[in-house]
């Protein structure tokens, strides 16, 4: 059984005695990555600050390694948990190594002089985060991604059992986001750290966390494994998304369709339609998409962007009835785009749409998504 490192029970917390976080309970065990998600202002930062003892507990309790946080001193807390915060420190004339070494604070003496052992710990942490080669570079002059890694090294120098991170990946590029989260995963696995982090990148929360806690208006709206949270339309509900849709399967965001009658018809399939769908959407041309097997990779985008989608059951050939339906729509369109270069066994019936359009003198454009 993994030890529970951090536990909040029926926690109320906030600023100046006013509760922002209400009745929140959560747990993080060693080796576990817990992601906090939820809209801006839901209380994620407030909750995190309370967990590390920076904001007072108004009611309920927070415990670290089984001890009530109110009963343990600042120094003891600092040895149990370390943080990477949204604050962006800009220390004058400090090198990256000095920033990392600052994490040895709870272990050094009255004057904060570093022993050999402290320097070695800092070097080890920096090697782990891949920032050791920056050790004598001024902290202010390295990139955002490197800075975040140095701050993570600093946190690791505290040798914590709980790592708390507030939106650690928000300002990082895609490579650094991945590197950072992969490193957190391996820290959880190999060093048995409990990790609680808030994330705005839902797709990453889904892929890198063991548990997801959804906060809404200061309370836990839902909590569970990523597979439970990222299902159906829950995320849209959580964030109150009105101007688009969120596809939980792929973590992709699509804007809202305009709700007008389609002006053009697009024959897609097998991924050939996606780029045209987007182009048409951007140009504000309402379109219909068809005829797609329900499991086609064009489907999610078509469903999000196309005013009408004609589909047929997965793994089966398109039924003639579906074609007739599509033809009634095509009749009202000004143009037909065909993204397919040839048709296969299952979507052979799409050929009839093409023939019909040619017979009715509806202009047909062959569109290739691959730029030649």
């Amino acid at each position: 059984m993994n030890e529970i490192i951090c536990r909040a029970g029926a926690l109320y917390a906030g600023y100046g005695g006013k509760a922002v976080v209400k009745n929140v309970s959560l747990e993080a065990a060693e080796g576990q990555v817990v992601a906090l998600v939820g809209p801006n202002g839901a209380g994620k930062s407030t909750l995190l600050k309370t967990l590390i003892g920076q904001l007072p507990v108004i009611a309920g309790e927070v415990s670290l390694c089984g001890q009530d946080i109110k009963r343990i001193g600042e120094k003891e807390i600092a040895r149990l948990c370390a943080a990477v915060l949204t604050e962006k420190p800009s220390p004058e004339l400090m090198t990256c190594a000095e920033v990392a070494e600052a994490g040895r604070y709870p272990y050094t003496g009255r004057l904060g002089l570093l022993r050999k052992e402290d320097r070695e710990k800092a070097e080890e942490a920096m090697r782990l985060t891949g920032t050791w080669e920056l050790w004598d570079r001024p902290f202010r002059q390295v990139s955002d991604g490197q800075r975040q890694m140095v701050l993570l090294s600093r946190a690791l120098c505290q040798e914590p059992r709980l790592l708390v991170l507030d939106e650690p990946t928000s300002f990082l590029d895609i490579r650094h986001k991945l590197d950072f989260l992969l490193l957190l995963r391996s820290l959880a696995r190999e060093r048995r750290l409990a990790i609680i982090l808030s994330l705005h990148e839902l797709d990453l929360a889904q892929k890198f966390s063991d548990r997801v806690v959804c906060l809404k208006e200061g309370a836990v709206d839902r909590a569970g494994e990523p597979e439970e949270i990222f299902a159906g339309h829950y995320i849209e509900e959580l964030y109150d998304v009105r101007s688009g849709s969120y596809d939980s399967r792929f973590g992709s965001v699509e804007p809202l369709k305009t709700g007008r009658e389609p002006k053009v018809f697009v024959i897609g399939g097998g991924g050939s339609g996606i780029s045209l769908y987007r182009k048409l959407y951007r140009s504000g041309i309402p379109f219909a998409a068809g005829i797609l097997p329900e499991n086609d990779m064009d489907m999610p985008v078509a469903e999000a962007l196309a005013e009408r989608v004609f589909s047929s059951p997965s793994f089966e050939s398109i039924k003639p009835g579906a074609v007739d339906e599509a033809i009634t729509c095509l009749a009202a369109c000004e143009r037909l785009y065909c993204c397919r270069e040839s048709f296969g066994e299952q979507d052979r019936e799409n050929r009839r749409l093409l023939d019909w359009a040619e017979k009715r003198k509806i202009p047909v454009v062959f569109y290739s998504s691959i730029q030649k």
């Binding site: 600050k49 590390i52 003892g53 920076q54 001193g73 600042e74 120094k75 003891e76 807390i77 600092a78 040895r79 948990c81 370390a82 943080a83 915060l85 604050e87 420190p89 220390p91 004058e92 004339l93 400090m94 000095e98 920033v99 600052a102 994490g103 604070y105 709870p106 050094t108 009255r110 004057l111 904060g112 002089l113 004598d136 202010r140 600093r154 505290q158």
Partner: protein, 338 residues
């Protein structure tokens, strides 16, 4: 390399100590009566001309010790305030702390002179400390409301002007023969101190410096920002109170003896940082003290000798040398931000 850094620190301290020795010597030698090297050596051996001895020990010594001690205290006070406000142009003069300490001291002096109450050094230090804390309180209240650091500095400058104006009015209307003294003091000068004053000042300043040195560890953490400092285990409330008390006490002592002295608190920490290539408090506290001592010894030498026999106020000289440093620093910061 780490060794390179250590070497640089050693070189920094070495050069500061050398400069300190040089300026101490120059301050002993130069004046309306020039004392040669051998005359100074003789005086220290209690030999030679009795007049030379009294010039050296009764006039020059207290003044140069005062300049060194108070200058050092001022620079450390400036460094503490810069750390506290995370702003390199914070300082006792800019934030109005010196001026408000001056105001309360002037009020106390006028009151005591008017009622023929003898004034002890500790009363003046106490008055200056009260004034410094009043201003600090106002600044802290303002800082809770003003998110912008530059507005806070403007606030401090305003407080400084108000305090100076009120002091001027009081000095103008106070009718006492001592007003000449008061006037000189309110412009800033090391001239009025005797050996006893120096000893009293040292009695307050040295323990305050020791506390400042012991605050170096949390200060280092605080340089990463308040939230990070807390997450590393700094008892933030206590630390902030200690920092404010020590920095206010240091600038109060200086003001009560030498009046407000401008720009030392900003220029010296900046120069020292550049010299040492680090802002580590553990190094900065002693280095700023040495640097402040050197800076004020140099400036006082000029104040005494440039227009001899007339003294110019020390603040005039520190401004002449300090302001270009501050402007250079601001320009450099502006550039690096782009």
């Amino acid at each position: 390399m780490n060794r390179k850094k250590r070497l640089r620190c050693a070189a920094g301290f070495g050069s500061l100590i050398l400069l300190l020795g040089l300026f101490l010597l120059l301050n002993m030698m130069i004046g309306s009566t020039h004392l040669a090297w051998h005359e100074i050596v003789q005086a220290f051996k209690a030999e030679g001309d009795i007049l030379n001895r009294s010039i050296l020990f009764a006039i020059r010594m207290p003044r140069l010790l005062a300049a060194a001690l108070l200058g050092g205290a001022l620079a450390v006070s400036g460094f503490l305030l810069q750390t506290f406000f995370a702003n390199p142009i914070a300082g006792p003069f800019v934030l109005g702390i010196s001026s408000s300490a001056k105001l309360v001291v002037a009020m106390t002096m006028i009151f005591c002179l008017g009622h023929r109450i003898p004034i002890s050094s500790f009363v003046l230090i106490g008055a200056a400390f009260a004034g410094a804390m009043l201003c600090m309180g106002a600044i802290l209240l303002a800082s809770a409301r003003l998110r912008s650091m530059s507005l806070l500095i403007v606030c401090g400058v305003m407080i400084g002007y108000i305090c100076t104006a009120i002091t001027d009015i009081m000095v103008t209307f106070a009718d006492d023969s001592n007003i000449v003294n008061l006037h000189n003091w309110s412009l800033g000068s090391f001239s009025s101190m005797d050996m006893e004053d120096v000893a009293t000042a040292a009695l307050v300043i040295l323990p305050a410096l020791a506390i400042a040195f012991l605050l170096a560890k949390p200060m280092g953490a605080y340089q990463l920002g308040e939230a990070y400092a807390r997450s590393m285990g700094v008892a933030i409330r206590r630390f902030r109170v200690e920092l404010i008390l020590v920095s206010s006490l240091l600038s109060a002592v200086v003001t009560s003896y030498a009046g407000p002295i401008s720009f030392v608190g900003i220029a010296v920490p900046h120069l020292v940082k550049q010299l040492f290539g680090t802002a580590k408090p553990l190094i900065m506290v002693p280095a700023c003290f040495l640097g402040g001592a050197v800076f004020c010894l140099g400036c006082d030498l000029i104040a005494r000798t440039a227009f001899a026999p007339a003294d110019i106020s020390i603040s005039t000289v520190t401004a002449v040398f300090g302001v270009p440093v501050v402007i250079a620093m601001l320009l450099k910061r502006g550039k690096s931000r782009e």
